[in-house]
Symmetry: C2
Subunit: 596 residues, 2 copies
């Protein structure tokens, strides 16, 4: 019963109007042709793909799931055909390197497209985004020979790719992986080990699958500084570059999961598989992070997209479902009951969904602008500044979008009552599919630790300073009285964030557990500051357009209503988070392990 | 991999030590034999049933689900045999009327038992608790003839029962139901209509199924004041009281749901089915509320129990899983990594789970004490006071236990990372099974509206005053300096609650939407006050026992650690909730329906 509509108008709003992406892109040589017309054309074509190619096989994919038999994986009905069409459209190489057949499009477009495909069919989208992410690591770190052999096939979608990190005993703690790579005389390696939770490790969508695998050389140092990255194809390319000899690797089984059932999650066994080093020996984690940082934002978009899909169904249901009467008395007296939208608490749920989704979309555009600046800008200072913002914001985008996205999906299920719990309307699938996004690509607790520890407390580059300076400058330049409440709340919450930061830094110098004790609420606190910044900027633009008589007044008016709700009802939490952080680590660390 | 252990020691603690249930029960004539020995015997036998009879068929029940064919429902393998054993144990009539074969045990024992069976196997437990709830409505409102014909069979578990409220177009809004009951000359009725989402509407566990059905007489007034309650058996009892002629009702299909897959959720068609009135004509909603209030607390226990089951698995996993190193440096240097328990953020998750679960268990015992007082006490004033507390606390227990229970299950899944998302460990099933508890038996938004509207703003009986007077008295009598922080927080949060209450009452007199706009955060605010009250009382007892040299010091010490965590890290939210309520209804109600 759900029919996803890609939020093209909203994307145009955050890209072109709030973030002014067009003027940035057309000002940089490598992206100068990306004007509003091209942006809109790609958004509209992407929407068509998400709505008509992927959404129709989302529920059937969930119901059928992937099937494993004799080492092979059969994806759900329709996935293979849809993947071929999808690949032909050039979508997998959308932001790929033009030198190897990629489209060279900026990240601001990629984030919109990825949000759409994640919303329409997360299981399907995963095969594509992992391939795009692996391509990025290959393009950045592999030899020219490997790039020539693999990138064109990956961008074209003929071949797919995976990332292989986790082992049965080693998830977050990659320093203790056991997979080993033995160097061979010809410069290749033979890789042996077992990897688990490998998304798309085996499937029937493409002629070849290229695994990006972390392993250790025989003489590697212990811990994370002894990890190298390898490219391991399922089939070794023959002299024509076509899939040739089968490599010594196989899929041992697939997982039975809560959701994303159309995505094959595989146990992969490497039994002396032929492998090629990517990047330098023992620098594998850094190379893999090229891919992981890409995927972290993308997985954030999964939470965002699924939340939006859930909102669309919940809002449509609330408009049409007649139940109860308005607190002010009947609104539609000729009908047996009023619509759900007369009930304040139903509006609370819908507006909470919307306020979080729209703030996240705006923040994703903001992060993408930084990624494009870091990649394409001609001014090294601009690139450096953008790089710092990307490093700071990536763990926030991953965690905030997926935590709030899951919460949004749960609310979207609640709006439908019992109808949200049964399969028919698709709302329960959104909840199940969104749940994984908080777990994989670095569990959200790890993201929070990355933010608080590496990006704030131990940071020597002043990442947070860049963000703070930008917001302070924005505050100093904003004088619209109608925005006064937004600006005041933004300033106060920013002050609270900085006081909190100083306190944690000072505690951490004496008590190492202080970082981990503060990390989660700290990330949530910074999220609220960022969402407040995004909403202030969105409301500013909306007010300006309404004042200028823009005929799309309803659209801008809805931003004002939603922003007001965010400011009044969701922002108050920031002080509670600061207070929670202030409590320190003592009450967390006191209980002896045996009493848990 | 999960193996549920019923928390018998914790239950003894809240019942006997914190709530002093034994001294209350032995002081009332109808329960005077319920001493500590009997309490402990029932808890231990109940634990055995939950752990050895129900838990082993929980996961298999989820995987197999219920099957529907030609109007009949087959429950998962093992359910039928387990149900027979369960019924033989007398558990369904545990708190039933002794005159008709019930055991007459107090609610304080029933809540413990229901928590256990919900934790071990919610799908299975639902068949039993619906039967117990229906029995309560029959015992309270039906004629002696109906009681004699049905109660003994229901208490013995030979027959099961359901509650039939929802129709395709009418869930929360029962005033618009279409089911009709035509009076017959013999005093019975012929009932026609379609009911949906009927838990246990059809199954193979018992020889007969008794439906408690809401319907309207032909001349009934419109709206909720025209609803009557009917008893409609699947098979009409013959002259020996055995299942005889098949009644004109049938199961049309079962739902495919996110969870509780071993529980059959049925579409029930009544086609002129023979029915008997329960209670007075047009007073059906009030009679059904006898059952609904019972079930609301029980469904709260589902959230509580599943959260505890999830905690047990998460804590065991965290103790054993080695991953990363303590922030202070290696704790177990001879192993490849330290246990997850060295990580502050893992502790945050586990302690959040535990602080909420234990507060809920204590509050469930508190509510049960009020229910027993209301039912068994010889002093009418004591009964009246207890009745008011029950009315006030039922929507809170239902909502708080299920919202926090779901949150706890999600955290318990998060602790296991990817292993929490796959079927193997059982954590993802807990999330799916817990999710329904926020929806059925009156969605949580409706509970919040019941609390804020009927029990607070429009209440004429002073329900909240009773609670406030009790807490004020407790505060006045507590002088333990070591409890000072708890007492201060309890007092301040109570003051905040009362200021908030006054503000909403005053706004509601001018703006009817103010009630619904405040209701959800208001319920959450009152939950925090109540949980703080419970934790203060638990910590008080634990401190006393430690000071007295109780040999079970570890147990009491764990209460102090968990209480401290609750106070420092979870209580700060209360001010944010008050601020959210203070924002009023404007930002919720402003957006026109067509902009959603």
């Amino acid at each position: 019963m759900s029919s996803y509509k890609a939020p093209v108008r909203d994307m145009q709003f955050v890209l072109n109007e709030v973030m002014q992406a067009e003027s940035l892109l057309t000002s940089m040589p490598d992206t100068e042709e990306v004007n509003a017309e091209l942006i809109n054309a790609i958004l509209e074509e992407g929407a068509r793909v998400a709505e008509t190619l992927l959404a129709p096989i989302n529920r059937s994919g969930d119901e059928e799931g992937c099937q494993f038999e004799a080492g092979e994986v059969r994806t759900p009905k329709g996935f293979r055909e849809a993947y071929a069409t999808f690949a032909e459209g050039g979508w997998i190489g959308l932001s790929g390197d033009v030198e190897y057949g990629g489209q060279g499009m900026p990240k601001v477009l990629a984030v919109c497209f990825e949000e759409m495909i994640m919303a329409a069919n997360s299981s399907f989208a995963l095969y594509a985004v992992l391939t795009a992410g692996a391509s990025l690591a290959v393009a950045r770190h592999a030899t020219d020979e490997l790039k020539q052999a693999y990138l064109p096939k990956l961008y074209s979608g003929e071949w797919a790719a995976t990332m292989c990190l986790t082992e049965p005993h080693a998830g977050t703690d990659l320093g203790i992986i056991k997979s080993r790579a033995e160097p061979q005389d010809d410069g290749s390696y033979l890789l042996t080990g077992t990897k688990i939770f490998i998304t798309g490790g085996e499937h029937d969508l493409t002629d070849n699958i290229i695994h990006m695998v972390l392993a250790k050389l025989p003489d590697a140092p212990a811990g994370p500084r002894g990890i190298s990255l390898f490219l391991v194809p399922k089939y070794l390319p023959d002299s024509d570059g076509k899939p040739g000899e089968r490599n010594a690797l196989s899929c041992g089984s697939i997982e039975h999961k809560m959701g994303i059932k159309g995505s094959a999650t595989c146990v992969m066994n490497f039994d002396g598989a032929r492998a090629w080093l990517v990047g330098e020996v023992n620098k594998g984690l850094a190379c893999m992070f090229t891919m992981m940082n890409y995927e972290r934002l993308t997985i954030g978009l999964q939470g965002l997209g699924l939340g939006d899909a859930s909102y669309q169904t919940a809002a449509a249901y609330a408009r049409e479902r007649l139940q109860g009467r308005s607190p002010d008395g009947p609104v539609e007296a000729d009908k047996p009951a009023d619509s759900l939208l007369v009930h304040p608490d139903v509006r609370r749920m819908l507006l909470t969904m919307r306020a979080n989704t729209e703030a996240a979309r705006c923040l994703s555009a903001y992060v993408a602008v930084q990624l494009d600046t870091a990649h394409f800008h001609t001014d090294p200072e601009a690139r450096e500044r953008a790089d710092k913002l990307v490093a700071l914001l990536t763990p926030i985008a991953k965690t905030a979008f997926t935590d709030k996205g899951f919460e949004v999906c749960v609310l979207g299920q609640q709006v439908l009552g019992g109808h949200g719990y049964v399969r028919e309307w698709g709302q329960e699938q959104h909840v199940r599919d969104a749940r994984i996004a908080q777990i994989y690509e670095g569990a959200n607790g790890i993201q929070a630790l990355d933010l608080m520890g590496r990006k704030v407390v131990r940071d020597q580059q002043g990442m947070l300073d860049v963000l703070v300076a930008e917001i302070r400058e924005y505050l100093a330049e904003s004088h619209d009285d109608a925005l006064a409440d937004y600006l005041l709340t933004l300033e106060r919450s920013l002050d609270t964030l900085l006081e909190t930061t100083d306190r944690v830094k000072s505690e951490a110098s004496e008590q190492p557990a202080a970082v981990g004790a503060a990390s989660y609420p700290y990330l949530e606190l910074m999220t609220l500051v960022l969402y407040c910044y995004m909403w202030t900027r969105m409301v500013e633009v909306a007010r300006r357009e309404i004042a200028a008589g823009n005929p799309d007044a309803d659209f801008y008016q809805s931003k004002l209503y939603t922003g007001e709700f965010f400011l009044r009802r969701l922002m108050p939490e920031y002080r509670a988070l600061a207070e929670e952080i202030q409590a320190g680590s003592e009450s967390l660390m006191a209980m002896p392990p045996e009493l848990f």
